[in-house]
Amino acid sequence: MNRFIQGVVGAAVFALAAEGAAQADVTGYVSGKINLWNNNGNYCPVQGTCTGSRFPESQRGNQPFSNAAINLYDAANNFIGEGNSATDGTFLVSWTAKTRPTQIRMRFYAYHRDGRFYFTDTAGGLYNWFTGLINTVANTTPTNPQPIGTTWSGGSSGSPNPYANAYWAAEKLWRTVFNLVGVLQTNFTQVEIRGFADNIPGFRGECTSSCASGPDKQVQLDAAAGFKPQARVMHEMGHIATYVTHPWERTNNYNFPDTVAGGGGWSRNEAEWGVSGFEEAFATHYGSIAFWGANATAPTTCNSTQSCYTVVVGPPASATPLANTNIEATSFPFATNNCVGGDMPESRWPLSHMRYFWDVFDSNNDATADTYSANAGDFWRHLHNLAWYPEGTGANDIDEPWNSDYSAVTNRDGRGSSSYRANYNTNVVNTSGIRTANCTPP
């Protein structure tokens, strides 16, 4: 639990303990449901090929605010209880006080119930929504609680809330992906996600397209990041996941063939050195498999508050993945295994790394050699693979980009998909054919 909440709880427990000897406490129970207005992009539109979609358009709008911390206060703002919402947004929480408070107030925090991650505003305060004062009733029990309403929404259709929306995506990523991997259950804890601004002095500073720090377990979301789950909050949480799976000496080598460190951003369809293309693609992969099941035939990822499709409302209605968003597609036949043509060779696109990871995961055989599916028994292994990398700077080691004394980056294609394949081969299965089918990303 966050130190802020711990402090509040600690003070309340102390006060209650001190007074408890003199008079028995009174406990009451309240129940209800917390929703958010889900305005996130990257959904599969109703007109699209949504086979395997875990975020169809029907999941927009009113959705449960799942597995979040809830605190209760009396009218004088004294802490009197806590609890959590369930996955379906419902809650049953109790308050305890010396006497029954006339009124209570509830606060719903964008704080994961198990402390996996929490959202803060730009000043570092725990982001929360609060109810008005609610008159209490007497003699409530766990089986006969006081119902306080079926819907308390963070944001509305007229003004969807970015914290609630980013929380929704983060919670979905945790529950459906990270929570299924032992090393992340152990290490992915107390990640602070602060937003929304392009520059937050004293935190990660200026990050105009969001950023993350694995050692600090910090994610900073930019001003426009609130409704772009795949490219922002899920992606940055993915960076934290790769780091806590196996810490490494990070490098900043983008913009192939530029060898100057620093400068420039990245995109799915521009060439990058292997170390950076792999890292960005793997960070995105977690979100891809949170939004798409293994049987998906046209899974997509994109940087947008909208869907990744061109939608024709019709009739006839249709939706086609936009260029360079389909991670199941391949641009070249299997026989063309390096895709090195042009000044932005596709083999080096982060998208090619993403497509390799997707084909390792999925059960849809779309290319020669794509007969393996990690989802069929090896789900955790394909995300755990980084943990198996040997320590060191040698071939396929975790710090492969570096020279032996860590004084310089000498292999900018180190710790890339080539190394992923090699370590996966050692510990699970050979995926060479799948890598070849996706332009052989370095």
């Binding site: 505003d121 000043a123 397209s209 950023c211 960005e280």
Partner: protein
């Protein structure tokens, strides 16, 4: 606009304007001037210097680059009849793509998400990476309360995924005077973070 590096510069600028404005007000009170006074807010144009940089210690250079970046920029302080408001404009800097199209809309919403001044500006722009689309001056007369000046822009580019960007400047109007609020101030002082009841949403035609 979210709080950020502009904050310090802007508050200094606003302070200077307030001092200058006080002088103007004195002159106006003496009957030497009639009508509103409008004092421009000096601002350094920073778009060119805001390219993404890789910094030691960061895990990534940032997420995937966006098509554009949107800002709400203070333009002038206007004083009239004892009231003082800030006028803004919006800048949409195009970062990627060819044949880029932008369409934007600016509204004022209150702290319960209700649009109180619609269509403060509606505009469109066609250009390319490196261009900056600029809205008209965004001005509104507001009663005391908490508001956000919100600008939304839809951006498309050839061969790229369309995007919708949004930027907002939070405000408090008290005694006719506008004060800019940071995100934290907005959350703490306004009713923005008060949860909606189903009945309230329904009564307002929202869901």
């Amino acid at each position: 606009m979210r709080p950020g590096e502009w904050k310090g510069e802007r508050r200094v600028a606003l302070l200077a304007v307030v001092v200058a404005g006080a002088g103007w007000t004195a002159i106006a009170s003496a009957g030497l001037l009639a009508g509103p006074t409008r004092v421009p807010i000096a601002r350094e144009h920073r778009h060119e210097s805001r390219k993404v940089e890789h910094r030691p210690g960061e895990l990534c250079a940032g997420g995937e680059a966006s098509l554009a970046r949107i800002e709400v920029v203070p333009e002038a302080v206007v004083r009239q009849a004892g009231r003082e408001r800030v006028e803004y404009h919006s800048e949409i800097a195009l970062h990627r793509g060819k044949k880029v199209g932008v369409a934007w809309k600016a509204d004022v919403i209150n702290d319960r998400g209700v649009v109180v001044v619609p269509n403060v500006d509606v505009g469109a722009f066609k250009g390319k990476s490196g261009d900056v689309a600029v809205s008209k001056t965004l001005r509104a007369d507001l009663n005391d309360g908490f508001y956000s000046l919100r600008v939304r822009a839809a951006v498309t580019a050839e061969g790229e995924v369309p995007d919708v960007l949004e930027s907002a400047q939070h405000l408090e109007v008290k005694g006719g005077r506008w004060t800019e609020l940071t995100d934290s101030e907005w959350t703490e002082r306004s009713n923005e973070a008060q949860a909606f009841s189903a009945a309230e949403l329904s009564a307002r035609g929202m869901r």
